[in-house]
Symmetry: C3
Subunit: 159 residues, 3 copies
């Protein structure tokens, strides 16, 4: 049986990493690092081993200052020494007039490649029992402190 998409959403989330000076604005913080790293600067070797916890605003467009429709919450880690690559476990907690419920994601994100797909592994509320994939792209970044991800979600199980 060929799979047919039953729902599509495009959302953005915005990550501002704590760097020792931006405690007020930061939405994420490094909480684990390898022996050669530290908790205020992403480490050498493509940040291999850095682990960050985040609570990032989700918006419908690419503007950090648009009204958030929810929060992206969870963690990401950098896991390759010779290129940028990450692994993410997180949930979109959506709480707006359009969407109410959660979508949980897990998977590897090979940051510098063209196709970056992670798995949708579960959901609640409007997204009860959701499954599918999310195409992730870096919509913008500023040094090591800010990045914005565009997440194009395709669900193949909807109820």
């Amino acid at each position: 049986v060929p799979l047919k998409p039953c729902r599509n959403l495009v959302l953005y989330f915005h990550d501002i990493l704590y760097n020792g000076k931006n405690a007020k604005n930061a939405t994420s913080a490094i909480v684990g690092a390898p022996q050669w790293g530290n908790l205020t600067t992403l480490t050498v070797n493509n940040h291999f081993g850095d682990l960050a916890v985040f609570d990032d605003p989700i918006t419908l467009d690419n503007n950090l200052h648009s009204r958030p429709v929810g929060r992206a919450q969870g963690f990401y880690l950098y896991d390759m020494k010779n290129t940028f690559s990450s692994w993410l476990g997180f949930t979109f907690v959506l709480n707006s007039t359009d969407y109410r419920g959660t979508i949980t994601f897990g998977g590897a994100d090979p940051i510098l490649t063209k196709y970056r797909e992670i798995s949708v592994v579960g959901g609640t509320g409007d997204f009860l029992m959701a499954r599918g994939i999310a195409n992730v792209s870096t919509d913008a970044f500023e040094g090591d402190v800010y990045f914005r991800l565009r997440v194009n979600i395709t669900l193949y199980e909807c109820y």
Copy 2:
């Protein structure tokens, strides 16, 4: 097709966090913390950034000293600065006459809200290929050292 629940379980698990003095009884330990935190005390700002690993006893009722039917194993992290909220990835490893197998969970837990649902993302043994949701509530807590979660699991895929 409307979803129909095929199985329901209610279980409790008990978490005793290492605080520097309770090494014998502790069932969990902080292993990651932000730059302003440490590994024996949950940090300020609603514990934002603290990451704990746990191996907690699971019981059928709310008594810590009841005979365990398995272990809840994995990690939780606190991910909001302005309220208590966590993200969990863990597995119920069940090994009793009633249940034999595992149930794996992932998702955001907005601790202070009324409805706290995380996703059941997989299972093995008696719970092979399980999927569904788990309603989580804090059944009790004592300061930062002990909490007990009631987990009401609804599976929508059973085999």
Copy 3:
């Protein structure tokens, strides 16, 4: 409806843990540890609380030097004080003539027991929407620095 497997794969992955002296060869590093631990040596109490990030080569046979067909990327943590046990969240990123796509896993791995099954929670590419289980066994290890896992994957949902 009884479940029927639709696909089976056996793959190996190889983990070389950073110990302070093997930066070049290491494929993983401890990035979180409990208060009594450190980032270059696995800790006492069966490594309880140690959290490692990894990017390990995947091979078709048990030879570390065989041509990799992909990378196993993610994290593992040790979560029991009185025996060896771990919890893993990771993705097989496969990129060979045989396999192209990802398989994402999550679950508890009771290292010293006979049956060690974790869940396949999602997939992309050739493994779009994969679900199933993976039987894991330690094929070899050398002290605390090297281990090789044999992963026998059974999928019950294939598209």
